[in-house]
């Protein structure tokens, strides 16, 4: 069984839960930017929550099924057509052999997920089938004519749709200060807490870039490269915060003023360029600051 790409859309990639345990080799985590939407699509077709599916970007995708299949679309709401007929978004839909599955342009949000019963069965790299657009690991973004293998259908019937929040008209992101809060002036935190930001069109799977007040540094110089986490808010010399998403580099040399908890990132990844963004500062976490 396979899906043949007829229209890849602006950017469609294979994504699952991503790679863990290999950051020390310089391998980013990758994986679906909206994990709950991926899990919901997989649940609808009876797959394990982390099975590989397709992640679209704004413009949808069209694929032809070589054999009867069960598919489901979640994430950014978009018109769905199967065999030329309108079909349901957020529900399992049967596709006949030779029929075309089309996801149109997203009406809200950025990324729709197309799961197929059995999962997209491209080879695993470090335990994941995800495309990593920073390092080029995993399958390339879809191109016209690509043939995507589909795994054997799961024995379990599909589940119900889990309601998820819709794409945000305005984004509020919690931010836990540190580990390099001391590189910034008090004015930087005032700007973060009160400033009106917007999601920049330069955002991608690596990071959400922002437009808004620059964050002044308390010190100059370079920070020796250090490990980076998902959600890290790195501040390059221009002062504009950059929020790391799944394809982020494993190490970086710009100071991280704070970290957006991972739970807030799926919604952030559905915010379109131009979406207003405000940060909510959380309290600092104390660990035993200095080992004794």
């Amino acid at each position: 069984m396979e899906l043949v790409v007829e229209r890849p859309g602006p950017l469609t990639t294979v994504q699952d839960q991503g790679r863990r345990g290999v950051a020390h080799l310089g391998v980013p985590r990758a994986g679906a930017l909206d994990g709950p939407a991926l899990a919901a699509a997989n649940r609808l077709v009876g797959n394990p929550p982390g099975a590989a599916a397709l992640e679209t970007t704004l413009g949808g995708v069209a694929l032809r099924a070589s054999a009867p299949l069960l598919v489901a679309v979640t994430g950014a709401p978009a018109p769905v057509r199967v065999g030329g007929r309108p079909a349901a978004w957020g529900a399992a839909v049967a596709v006949g052999a030779g029929e075309l599955v089309e996801i149109g342009a997203a009406t809200h949000g950025v990324r729709s997920y197309l799961a197929v019963a059995g999962g997209i069965a491209v080879p695993e790299v470090f335990g994941s089938r995800s495309a990593d657009l920073l390092s080029g690991l995993g399958p390339s973004p879809l191109r016209t004519g690509d043939r995507l293998p589909v795994g054997p259908p799961p024995p379990a019937p599909g589940g119900e749709l889990v309601p998820l929040p819709g794409p945000p008209a305005e984004l509020f992101l919690p931010l836990r200060p540190g580990p390099r809060a001391d590189w910034f002036t008090p004015a930087a935190f005032t700007a973060l807490a009160r400033g009106r930001y917007r999601i920049s069109p330069a955002s991608n799977r690596i990071a959400l870039r922002t437009e808004g007040p620059a964050l002044p540094r308390a010190r100059t110089g370079e920070l020796p490269s250090e490990g980076m986490v998902l959600g890290a808010v790195q501040v390059p010399p221009d002062g504009h915060p950059v929020i790391f998403l799944a394809d982020h580099p494993t190490t970086g040399g710009y100071p991280v003023i704070g970290v957006v908890p991972a739970a807030a990132l799926p919604l952030a990844a559905q915010a379109r360029p131009g979406t207003p963004l405000r940060f909510t500062l959380l309290g600092r976490t104390d660990v035993q600051r200095r080992a004794r």
């Binding site: 310089g26 580990p179 490269s225 490990g227 494993t250 991972a262 200095r290 080992a291």
Partner: protein, 209 residues
């Protein structure tokens, strides 16, 4: 970690801890201990060494981990017996003459300096399998090129700051190119995929082109 001026622990986000150390040697020493003693610590998803830090990410119980690390005796130097990789290298890079000039020696002497040192993979980053190798004396630090090249060939042996690096795949890059090795540094179908992993010792030998 008994030194009062020793490692500082910084909370990162909800479930990560950044251990800040005084030197690359201490980073290597802590990383080696973490690999040896990981089983006695709370679950950690990622252990990521870097220039002066080790990031512990995806930590099940951060407070317990911080307490456990506080009780560790940390040697000043990493173990000297890590696996050794030898990289036969043709020293015909476009920046060899410039690096030699920066060092105030002939290109032939620059090759002798580079092959005379033993290196250690301090950490990986930039690209899968790209190791930052320490081992050259501080007086041989060189700046990055003013303008990066849009494409550096795979296998290029290069210098920047205190580090030697080898490009696992063709990519843009701003490091000074000394030469090239034919040894494949990265192969996803090989186990392990990366030849240069943190803690591995490395020697370069000069080959004819």
């Amino acid at each position: 970690m008994t030194d009062a001026d020793g490692p500082e622990l910084r909370a990162v986000g909800e479930d990560a801890l950044l251990v800040e150390l005084g030197s690359a040697e201490q980073v290597a020493a802590l990383y080696a201990q973490l690999l040896d003693r990981r089983a006695e610590l709370p679950e950690i998803a990622e252990v990521v060494p870097a220039a002066r830090t080790v990031l512990l990410d995806g930590v099940a119980d951060r407070a317990a981990l911080a307490r456990a690390l506080a009780g560790w005796e940390l040697p000043e130097h990493p173990p000297a017996d890590g696996p050794l990789v030898t990289l036969p290298t043709v020293y015909d890079g476009p920046d060899l003459a410039e690096v030699a000039a920066l060092w105030g020696v002939s290109p032939e002497a620059a090759v002798r300096i580079h092959t005379g040192a033993e290196y250690r993979v301090a950490f990986c980053g930039f690209a899968p399998g790209f190791g930052y190798l320490t081992g050259l004396a501080p007086r041989y630090e060189v700046p990055r090129r003013d303008s990066p090249r849009s494409s550096v060939p795979a296998g290029s042996v290069a210098l920047a700051g205190p580090y030697t690096g080898v490009y696992p795949r063709s990519s843009p890059g701003g490091w000074q190119l000394l030469g090239r090795t034919v040894v494949p540094l990265w192969d996803e179908r090989r186990e392990p995929a990366a030849l240069l992993t943190p803690g591995v010792r490395v020697r370069f030998t000069a080959e004819r082109g």
